[in-house]
Amino acid sequence: GAGVSQSPRYKVAKRGQDVALRCDPISGHVSLFWYQQALGQGPEFLTYFQNEAQLDKSGLPSDRFFAERPEGSVSTLKIQRTQQEDSAVYLCASSLDISSEQYFGPGTRLTVT
């Protein structure tokens, strides 16, 4: 079956632009996670949804970051007024439920110039 998909795979934004990153989880997966992976580092947790409810957003680095999952399936991570330090790979993962293994998408590589 299809895995987690993300789009776009690559995004170049000028500083100050807004970007929107999309994640399509595995069908039927209740939990959805966003991670940020800086170059040469491990992924860092950003936020987590259970269905449409955002249960934890403690990892979002600033109020410029916003995530939503309005119908409990597809999720969008939005970054407003992008800064150079936002350059990273943004990984999405989904799991059947909170206690199950997470499956990762291919990531979106964001470069802010």
């Binding site: 580092q41 947790f45 987590y48 249960l55």
Partner: protein, 111 residues
């Protein structure tokens, strides 16, 4: 706050040799994961370790977990070039909802 430390962070080794990557974590955990990441690719799940003393093997890779020592190891036997990648351990706590990753070990196997 849960912290996950891996060592070494970089490892260059000859084909055919054995080596071990270590993963220490700071608080009680419900499960530990090992992932592989190739350059420009996403994370591939290798092992999920659930209990003290758990040992899992796949090909030339073997992972073990000692929950009392808060230590997991990933052992590589008779390394081959195809195993060159970055390996991450990650830990979660059931009462929390996030996985905490180590910084990764970049493994370079020389032919």
């Amino acid at each position: 706050e849960l912290k996950v430390e891996q060592n070494p962070l970089f490892l260059s080794m000859q084909e055919g040799k054995n080596y071990t990557i270590y993963c220490n974590y700071s608080t009680t955990s419900d499960r530990l994961y090992w992932y592989r990441q190739d350059p420009g690719k996403s994370l591939e799940s290798l092992f999920v370790l659930l209990s003290n003393g758990a040992v899992k093997q796949e090909g030339r890779l073997m992972a073990s977990l000692d929950t009392k020592a808060r230590l997991s190891t990933l052992h590589i036997t008779a390394a081959v070039h195809d195993l060159s990648a970055t390996y991450f351990c990650a830990v979660d706590i059931r009462r929390d909802d996030k996985i905490i990753f180590g910084k990764g070990t970049r493994l370079h196997i020389l032919p």
